[in-house]
Amino acid sequence: MLTKKLPPLQRFLSLVSRRASHAARQQYDVIVVGGGHAGTEAAAAAARVGAETLLVSQKIQTIGALSCNPSLGGVGKGQLVREVDALDGLCGRAGDWAGIHFSILNRSKGPAVWGPRAQLDRQRYRTFIQSELLSTPRLTVLEGSVEELLLSETNPEEPGTHRVTGIRLANEGTPISASSVILTTGTFLSGSLFVGQSESPGGRIGDAPSSAGLSHTLRERLGLRVGRLRTGTPPRILKDSVDLSLAHLHPPDSHPTPFSFLNTHTRCKPEEQLPCYLTHTTPGVERVVKESLHLNCHIQQDAKGPRYCPSIESRVVRFPGRQHQVWLEPEGLTSDLLYPQGLSMTMPPDIQLRLIREIPPLHRAEIHTPGYGVQYDFVCPTQLSPALQVKSTQGLFLAGQINGTTGYEEAAAQGLWAGVNAARSALSMPTVALSRTESYIGVLIDDLVSRGVTEPYRMFTSRAEYRTSLRPDNADLRLTLKGFEEVGCVSPLRYQEAVRVRDSLQEAQAALQTLSMSNPKWRKALPDMRMSETKSTLLTGMDVLQYKYVTFEMMSSAFPESLSRHMEFAQRLKIEAVYKPHCDLQKKEIERIQKEENMSLPQDIDYLTVPVSMSQEVREVLDRVRPSTLGAATRLEGMTPAAIVHLLNYVRNAAQRERRTQRHQKEEREREMCAKEAS
């Protein structure tokens, strides 16, 4: 994968425009609007599933651009990258191609919460994504701005009050039709940019604002509820103007760990990696912020910003009198810019300069691009199904920041899943859902569609209640097999690799299980195991591998004939052994929940009048959220056990009635046929 020659960007662009020339006249299965992390994963996934796909982006050059921080992964987010990769998505491999500083966060805290992370070279990342899209069969890229969604009569067979059948581009007027449309417009939905006291329309500096038509269609014609959120980005600083000797050097891991299950090493050689630098704010920074608050519109607005990625202004206001961390991160191998993580700000540019110069390594720093704030509309995600389809609108899918999330990884995960389902629905296959018991993607989507958001949603490991089972090391076993067998978004090549891994791991575990010996014998075989227990019971190899000081390497050299051929999986086996008892405990619970998640509720129940004994409060909650499964219904506020029982009973009876009616109709028809034949 990493040795592949990427086509030069110029060729990409020419190919794209050639395709674009005939694109406008075609009919597609899936149209993806937006070329960010959600859009690119969505387009690639839809094409992998088998749909003729069109990706429309305002500017082809910015497809795959990292608009904010030059990094990927982290705690919780790294898990998402691994899962997207396990489903054959792009971002893991792109990270391995573009990474210039790899590290596993939380290395000392247990493999379930390890956070694979990398600093990226912006240029390389974009090139990789563009090249991947180019070489994806059934995928066409088109430059253009979407003016409006085409709506038509609904399909009476499916729930929903509207139906989307395509898009119309600005300035062209030619409609392009498709069975499914995925919107991944990020911060461009009624986006406004803020610097100091000035406000201008747009979703990202340097890009044209998206047309007001789309926003209007969503709100007015489709009647979707929207909310407003804000985010921001720090100024970019000229590297040469920074005195890095005054900051703490933060080296990368000496052995970079790739994100992708397909890669054994990263493109960047260990010694080529670049370091990051850590520095801190000073009381001077706090002073500048406080003095300039009145010049700062963004911070005075009441749109909700994230609590965990706050601007320097809100950090200083909320936690005064403290030193705050500032990371100085490289933007690329050859880039002359630094990205000051933690200094997101929206004050006027001259004050931004004053502020950063209060930080010792930056006391002579020059700003290349000032920081700015963005406020944008998001569609309240409780209006979506677990397939990320708008419940009231047939054929319309949403992914990324438009659903109220923040972060590349969150966007990529949703994009992939929306792409899969948009394609499946266009190809008349049933949509699929991921459970929160099997993946972080499932946790993310379930949180969004059943709880909604009040601030930009970011993934944390603490959101996943089955964290010890949903580890970064086993994402392939959890998702790749299913992704091939049930979802159809995984290539045979990757599937075969996952099958090989699964079989080898099973074989190795079986070999460990059969090694059953008494305590003294184990101590003799593994002199370094430092086992303090004196119980005389028999221990298997899996039991022993749980001990802190025991490694698979140790065991393999003690029992080479049965174990040495599994050395490739030494680390995974160790992790598996430590977590196995806990995961076995969780398994029953997980199975139970999966059963509940599989019980789907019809989308067309009129909860307000359904003839079941339920309180008005419960009816209103159900009517507002329209949970898609009984499992989701139980998580709603105000639900009572009795209401669940009544509801289930009603649904089952309805299903029985339905079946009975169908049977009667069939009998009726048969009788008629017989009568005709007889006559």
């Binding site: 705690v75 966060l105 247990g110 493999p111 490991t461 964290r467």
Partner: protein, 517 residues
């Protein structure tokens, strides 16, 4: 705060139907934890199945794979299974101390031909509270056994296909009734000292978890130092020590607080205290013609037709400038909220002479006594409310009949009794009505089984305690597994005090730390 127990039932509701899963109706969080897996894993359950109260024979039932173990180690049935569904006379022993607890009948119902479809055992033992408590405790010490959640036997029966869908509607009602009874019981327990203690523990555990989670999710790039974990170590240690003391204490203090909670409430001078004195046949409460005589709650334990009743007389409900009386009224209202059965007393002399107007007046009066969340739309809960019209001797015979007829005609009224505490007229009939109400309530498996509830609390606390040991065991080995221990501890305790979810933990994190990446 909504009781733990809700979740059990909710779980019941849902399991019953093999499809959904439960959460307490009050506090909903994104997490989808239901039964903590420690519990879900311990598959066998036991409970006192016979009604509460004085009875000759009590039936304790156990269901699940550990039933066979219970049979073997408590009833000394040898290894080969005894004949199914046949009464065996056995000494019933404590599985650990081997002390004989009682001599009784034992039945073995191998699955699938049992109520729950699982292997089940029934112990028919003597009905004294001491024997019942001892047998329940003994069962609790059988490995794999835990006290049943409410409705769990029924739920398992449904899971095994022993109930069919037409019975589900009835089951929904049953679950509703059970949750109501449990809500009241939990309220009763939670308003006391014990409640404060459990709440305090929950609060502290939440903080522990939040700090561990902050350390996991944020420490790498943030200003969260290792000191955070040392603090959690200390907190967990303190909590463990307190919980251990409590668990030891509780065994000694485990007393039977059984009985149906009956509360007398109403306006001042309606004759509430007279009613109490009439019922307990002694001047337990001071009676005077002065409005507001009773200020605090007067409790007395009674035996109504063989059922244990805890009768409380409360201050008359009225606005008062007097601080002491105001507190009395507050307590009275609280007591009504926790009551299994409320006797609303009204003074016949206060009634309008027109029967229709009198009915409307009484309806209004009932509403003013009942707590707001139980305000019915149309029908007053007949099983939990009795309207007592005192001083009937002051009404002329004719008006009495008219009123009686009117109240029977108007639908949605609770049972009404006309009595006179002064002449004792109507008291006998009232006792009959009261007896049948209490009897109905005792049929409710929950209101009369505090032993079981306490055993359940104990099981949850025990689990919470050992989960904290998991934190300590893994603290230096694997922080994800250590955090799992704290999370499990919180879930176990949450089954008593109400659920805690991911969002709440995140809220604490953002309050306590400056997360700024």
């Amino acid at each position: 705060m909504l009781p733990s127990i809700y979740r059990g039932i909710w779980g019941a509701a849902v399991h019953t139907l093999r499809t959904s899963r439960g959460t307490p109706p009050c506090r909903f969080l994104s997490t989808c934890e239901g039964v903590p897996f420690g519990l879900a894993d311990a598959e066998s359950i036991f409970a006192l199945s016979s009604g509460h109260g004085r009875c000759g024979v009590a039936v304790v039932r156990a269901s699940g794979p550990a039933s066979a173990t219970a049979l073997r180690c408590m009833a000394g049935v040898s290894r080969s299974p005894p004949p199914p569904r046949t009464a065996l006379l056995r000494s019933i022993r404590d599985p650990i101390s081997k002390e004989v607890l009682d001599r009784g009948l034992v039945f073995w119902f191998p699955g699938p031909h049992s109520f729950t479809g699982e292997d089940s055992v029934e112990f028919h033992i003597h009905g004294g509270p001491a024997v019942i408590t001892a047998v329940l405790q003994a069962l609790g010490s059988v490995p794999g056994m835990r006290p049943a959640e409410a409705g769990e036997f029924t739920r398992r029966a449904f899971q095994a296909g022993k109930l069919d869908l037409t019975e589900v509607e009835g089951l929904g009602d049953l679950i509703h009734a059970e949750t109501e009874a449990q809500r009241r019981q939990a309220l009763r327990q939670m308003s006391g000292e014990l409640g404060h203690l459990y709440q305090d523990w929950t609060h502290r555990l939440k903080r522990c978890l939040a700090h561990v989670e902050a350390f996991i999710d944020f420490s790498e790039d943030e200003l969260i130092e290792d000191g955070v974990l040392n603090q959690v170590d200390r907190w967990v240690c303190d909590l463990q020590a307190e919980m251990e003391r409590h668990l030891k204490d509780e065994r000694r203090g485990e007393r039977l607080r059984s009985g149906v909670q009956v509360v007398i409430a109403g306006a001042t001078n309606a004759g509430k205290s007279s009613l109490l004195n009439t019922l307990c046949q002694r001047p337990a409460a001071i009676v005077s013609p002065i409005a507001g005589t009773t200020r605090d709650i007067v409790e007395t334990a009674l035996d109504i037709g063989g059922f244990p009743v805890l009768l409380s007389d409360t201050a008359g409900l009225r606005e008062s400038p007097d601080l002491v009386e105001r507190e009395g009224v507050r307590r009275a209202r609280e007591r009504v909220e926790q009551a299994d059965l409320t006797l609303v007393v009204a003074d016949c002399a206060d009634l309008p002479s027109d029967a229709q107007q009198a009915a409307a007046f009484l309806q209004e009066h009932l509403r003013s006594v009942l707590p707001p969340q139980e305000q019915p739309e149309t029908v007053f809960p007949a099983d939990r409310l009795l309207l007592v019209l005192n001083k009937m001797d002051l009404l002329p015979e004719e008006q009495r009949l008219e009123l009686d007829g009117e109240l029977r005609r108007v639908s949605g009224f609770p049972p009404v009794c006309l009595i006179s505490c002064h002449t004792k007229e109507g008291v006998h009939d009232f006792l009959t009505v009261l007896h049948s109400s209490v009897k109905t309530l005792c049929g409710d498996p929950l209101s009369g089984a505090p032993t079981l509830t306490q055993a359940r609390h104990r099981a949850h606390l025990q689990q919470c305690f050992s989960a904290m040991a998991q934190y300590q065991r893994y603290r230096d080995l694997d922080l994800a597994l250590a955090a799992e221990g704290v999370r499990l501890a919180l879930t176990s305790l949450g089954r008593i005090t109400g659920r805690v979810g991911a969002e709440e933990i995140l809220d604490i994190i953002f309050k306590d730390f400056c997360i700024g990446k």
